[in-house]
Subunit: 355 residues, 2 copies
């Protein structure tokens, strides 16, 4: 049988750890990293058309209200027409988006499953991803399925999910959620086995999700109210600003997934990466023989294992190792790869943010 | 008595070792380094008015023909009207400029001495400089006086001059010239004493210089011919391009000073620096407690002994030491302070120069 799937693309991320390329005006998901299309456009294209027992509807997009023009441009680059674009007047995290996607999914594509995806991840193996979706689809009629990424290193930046009983080939009940571990704990989880990274991608039947929002009724009711009072014009949905702002902000994971008994996990190895930091981008990038990743206008003279990227300006480095050097019209950063987590602090320093 | 002095400002330098701030379109001398005025404007202002037995005429400026607008702007910033601006259609080094300055000095300020100065040096102690000029002036009626900088470190980037017999208080015959030494030789010269750095600044009577050009008659004759065929308009002198291009290119030091018996040196400690590299600029700059020199839009989080400068863009560094980081609209460079000599190679790399 063929499963009808409505992709719901969440484009609310700010990508502050990829400053100065990722900015408020043009965040991470609207940039390309080594490929021709942006992460957003790649995400849209990945879940389109008919493939492997799946039939994808035109995507629903939830985005920051300031990014409407960007969303339209990157949808066009992906060759996609949206089912609808929901503009969030303020960010209220993924639980609110999940509730709105469920309600709109029911309305726009009755009977379809909703596939809720961040717009700013890389998935290198599309075929494996589609296969995981197809395996998860039957279970998603009764449970909320999260796609768990099979870990290949003791990563401390993600939450971990422990798989329980197998419900169907490749789909498991969830035994427990584990918050971001330290490096020793992460290594122990890897050694123990049966864990997957929580990648924040969900497949669900709208009815099931809205029922399970009994665990977070204020979020659901607030989202439905903001939607009921929305203005709709030219395929764009503007939720009521006051009602939307009143929705409690929470991730779908903690608000719902960690509470419901109707969760499931589909572990998969799909070449996933969240492209969450410049060190991650160096790890994923093509590199020269000396380990330098050069992107945009960039050159290295006698240096090793650097990430050097110039957008609109030429960046030249000599005699340095293991550095991140990023230059755009918005700013320039230089720091060791091992300190990529400090980018947010540098951004605050540059923008004069005191928080 | 009061000595009448015509300053002749040589603005032909390219400053390639200060790329990407110093560019062909706007080279080093037209930038400020820690002060409010550019090196050019500071140079002009330093030798103006009446002071300490000296009476300065309005300056003569020799500049690249492409920089006329820049020269006028920086003269205005210095509050100066020029005696004349000579536009060089091509660079022919300092001997040609010296010959032209002597000929024009004779014409514009009969009886005055000519003070030939690079436009791109720092002289922190103006009073000491003026005193050195005043001491040298009587000797300059019969000899070409070069100002020698009393060395304070075994610098390998400059030529050295050995002082001979004292001709007048603080002015000496020249015993010998010494090309740029290696670091051991430089240390030996310092230990031996009696040496001064050759700073390329000259005080002379036009008649004397033109006579001594008997050691380089082709340069003198070529310069005089280019001047005789010049177009003069609105205070700007355009030497004949073909005649000017035919002048042999040579520094005044090797073409004349090392050959004439009528040379003298006036050693002086005047806070001189040629601002020849980014490491020199770090050395001269004001620094924070951790040794970081921050210029323009620049910030450091937990780093030491760096030079960080942003012109038109904010540059933020974290966790690095002893680096030069310079960002302008023309390019970005990152390299260790100890490798500042590689800037020219980085510039060639960025501009695609193969030479």
């Amino acid at each position: 049988m063929t499963h009808r799937i409505l992709p719901a693309i969440m484009s609310g991320g700010a990508g502050t750890r990829l400053w100065p390329l990722s900015t408020e005006a043009e965040p991470k998901q609207f940039h390309a990293f080594g490929g021709g299309l942006s992460l957003f456009a790649e995400t849209v294209r990945r879940v389109s058309g008919d493939a492997g027992g799946l039939s994808f509807a035109a995507p629903l997009v939830a985005a920051n209200a300031a990014h409407l023009a960007l969303v339209k441009r990157h949808l066009a680059a992906a060759g996609a027409e949206p089912s609808a674009i929901v503009l969030e007047p303020v960010g209220r995290n993924t639980a609110a988006v999940g509730a709105i996607a469920a309600a709109l999914g029911h309305e726009l594509e009755p009977g379809a499953l909703v596939l809720l995806l961040p717009a700013d991840h890389v998935i290198a193996d599309r075929a494996a991803f589609l296969m995981a979706i197809a395996r998860a689809a039957p279970i998603a009629r009764d449970r909320i399925v999260t796609f768990g990424i099979t870990p290949d290193r003791p990563e401390t930046g993600y939450g971990y999910i422990k798989a329980g009983a197998e419900l169907a080939p490749g789909v498991f009940a969830i035994e427990s959620f584990r918050e971001k571990p330290d490096v020793e704990a992460a290594a122990a989880l890897l050694a123990e086995g049966g864990y997957a990274w929580n990648a924040g991608m969900f497949l669900f039947d709208p009815h099931v999700l809205l029922e399970e929002f009994a665990h977070a009724p204020k979020i659901r009711d607030g989202a439905l109210q903001a939607l009921a009072q929305a203005v709709r014009r030219d395929g764009v949905i503007y939720p009521d600003a006051a009602a939307f702002a009143a929705i409690p902000a929470a991730p779908l994971d903690t608000a719902l997934m960690e509470k419901t008994r109707r969760a499931a996990v589909a572990p998969c190895a799909i070449g996933w990466a969240d492209v969450g930091s410049w060190s991650e981008i160096w790890r994923l990038a093509e590199k020269d023989a000396a380990g330098n990743a050069l992107q945009g206008g960039a050159a290295v003279l006698d240096g090793a294992n650097n990430l050097v990227r110039g957008d609109g300006v030429k960046v030249c480095v000599a005699g340095v190792r293991d550095l991140i050097v990023i230059a755009t019209a918005d700013g320039v950063i230089v720091l060791p790869r091992a300190r990529a987590q400090d980018v947010k602090a540098l951004r605050d320093l540059a923008l004069g943010n005191s928080d």
